[in-house]
């Protein structure tokens, strides 16, 4: 098992954001975490990447407890967190953003760095075209792609993406989705995907967890969840049931 959370609770000052969360991610899997606004999905990722210290429970990555490890060290262990929103560094260029993505990797030669950046440009052609543009000048979709590409530059064992589809046009969502699958195959990267867009997340993932008001309420293979009437009703707009019926 790559990552395990055992009975994790975390809060922001007085607000208890997640309670008794347990989940598992195996090597090579794409696992999704779905749920409504404020369910605690982002908080779960923040706990894993070390941005938020849990007040109870354990986070175990490759057999080591990391719930007290600092975020700068967690990246080095191989967890890359592409956070919610467009956290592109606004005053740095696309290329500089990508270079910083790789800054945790000691001993990466200049030539290899260039090769990998070129590879990201192949994966995301827009970024190649805009390599010298400053972060803030990019469109929402381009910033989202830069965020993912930058996350990959760390060559993580596990990539955590927080709502990569947020605010993107359906055609770009499809593109991001395909890229995610490609990344997972090509680099053998394990992916933990947080999404409100449940049908999209479940369609590309192996397994999923459903969160409601800070707790995990359902889990299973993505197939099971897609055909689960409750999930269907709450997160897929009841569409597939209607279609079946």
């Amino acid at each position: 098992m790559m990552l395990e959370m055992k009975g994790v609770s975390a809060s922001y000052d007085a607000v208890q954001a997640i309670r008794d969360v347990s989940l598992e991610v195996n090597e090579g899997e794409i696992v999704c975490l779905i749920g409504a606004n404020g369910a605690g999905k982002s908080t779960t990722l923040k706990v894993i990447s070390g941005l938020l210290r849990p007040n109870a429970g354990e986070v175990i990555f490759e057999g080591k407890q990391i719930q007290k490890t600092k975020p700068e060290e967690i990246v080095r262990l191989g967890i890359s967190h592409v956070p919610e929103g467009r956290r592109v560094l606004p005053g740095l260029t696309v290329r500089e953003n990508l270079e910083l993505g790789a800054s945790v990797r000691k001993g990466l030669s200049k030539a290899d760095l260039n090769k990998e950046i070129e590879h990201q440009y192949e994966l995301f052609p827009d970024l190649g075209r805009l390599r010298n543009a400053l972060g803030w000048t990019l469109s929402g979709g381009q910033q989202q792609m830069l965020g993912i590409a930058r996350g990959l530059m760390a060559r993580p064992k596990m990539l955590m993406m927080d709502e990569p589809s947020l605010g993107l046009a359906p055609i770009i969502v499809k593109q991001v989705l395909e890229t995610t699958k490609r990344i997972s195959k090509e680099f053998g990267t394990t992916v933990l995907l947080v999404e409100q867009n449940a049908s999209m997340a479940l369609s590309i993932s192996n397994r999923g967890y459903v969160m409601e008001t800070g707790r995990i309420t359902m889990s299973g293979t993505s197939k099971e969840l897609l055909s689960n009437p409750q999930v269907n009703e709450a997160y897929l707009g009841g569409r597939s049931r209607k279609l079946k019926g």
């Binding site: 560094l89 606004p90 005053g91 740095l92 270079e99 910083l100 972060g135």
Partner: protein, 294 residues
């Protein structure tokens, strides 16, 4: 002295002194960018830099280059201590407690200097003993030329370092988005410490450059610091180009106002310029109206 020579003289000295304001302003700008804190002790750090040079050069009799470099090292360490004890404990608080702490630290530095050095102004010799030379009726004081050269060199260094080194880019990333910087594995606390060390050194160098021109007193930092703030505001708070242009503008208006309007109000002209900016263009020359953080 011809009219043109008088103008030339004042422009020369205005730009030179403006360079010192620019160095202080740059220090204030860098700290502001990386922590959102305005360091009101920057002027008094300048004063400490001048005293450091005074001790090493005049009291211990070290040669200028050694005294200068040693003072930089000492003030760099001081910059680390300053961030560790003034900024770091309050880093998660709102900006107000931190700003008040920097004001308090400044007052403390002034009073400690008063206790240690007394109220008698101290004299520091210029870098070159020969004084200067005259061209076309304008007297070029060598100390002013030293100021110009050092300021120019530091701004070139600033550009090369921040735009072309990995450490510089990590410091920029820290200034732009601390959470994201952490997620990229950048040791944010260390980057902020570096910023304080560097800014302290910039202020201290400013103090060492003006020490031979003004007498060194425990109060010398107050006026220098205020003019550096004026420079920051005129140039655009937190902007590197703004610090340079703002500093030189303040130096020029001060020299020209004193020469052509009234010498007794020399120190008032910078604040007149500041008032004009606050009324007409509060965001400064390079500032954006709404500070945008994507």
């Amino acid at each position: 002295m011809s009219g043109l020579a008088i103008l030339g003289q004042n422009v020369f000295s205005g730009i030179a002194i403006g360079g010192v304001y620019a160095l202080l302003a740059l220090g204030i700008a860098l700290i502001y960018r990386s922590t959102n804190v305005t360091n009101f002790a920057q002027g008094d750090i300048t004063m400490l830099g001048a005293y450091a040079l005074y001790i090493l050069l005049e009291q211990l009799g070290l040669p200028y280059p050694i005294a200068f470099l040693l003072a930089i090292v000492v003030m760099g360490i001081f910059g680390w201590l300053f961030q560790r004890f003034v900024y770091y404990p309050l880093r998660n608080r709102s900006f107000l407690p931190v700003i008040i702490a920097t004001i308090g630290a400044g007052i403390l530095f002034q009073n400690v200097a008063l206790v240690v050095f007394g109220s008698i102004p101290r004299k520091v010799n210029p870098v070159f003993a020969s004084g200067g030379f005259t061209v076309g009726g304008v007297y070029f004081d060598l100390q002013y030329i030293v100021i110009l050269v050092v300021t120019a060199a530091l701004f070139v260094f600033q550009y090369l370092f921040f735009e072309h080194t990995s450490l510089g880019k990590k410091m920029q990333a820290t200034a732009q988005d601390k959470t994201m910087a952490q997620l990229l594995g950048i040791p944010v606390a260390l980057m902020i410490a570096f910023t304080f060390i560097y800014s302290t050194i910039l202020g201290a160098i400013g103090g060492m450059l003006v020490a031979p021109i003004y007498f060194v007193t425990n109060r010398m930092g107050s006026t220098l610091g205020l003019k550096a703030f004026a420079a920051c505001i005129c140039g655009g708070f937190g902007d590197v180009r703004g610090a340079l242009i703002g500093g030189i503008a303040i130096g020029l208006i001060e020299a020209l106002g004193a020469a052509y309007i009234a010498p007794v109000y020399k120190d008032a002209f910078p604040f007149l310029l500041l008032l004009v900016f606050l009324l007409v263009r509060p965001q400064g020359i390079f500032g954006e109206k709404v500070s945008e953080k994507a």
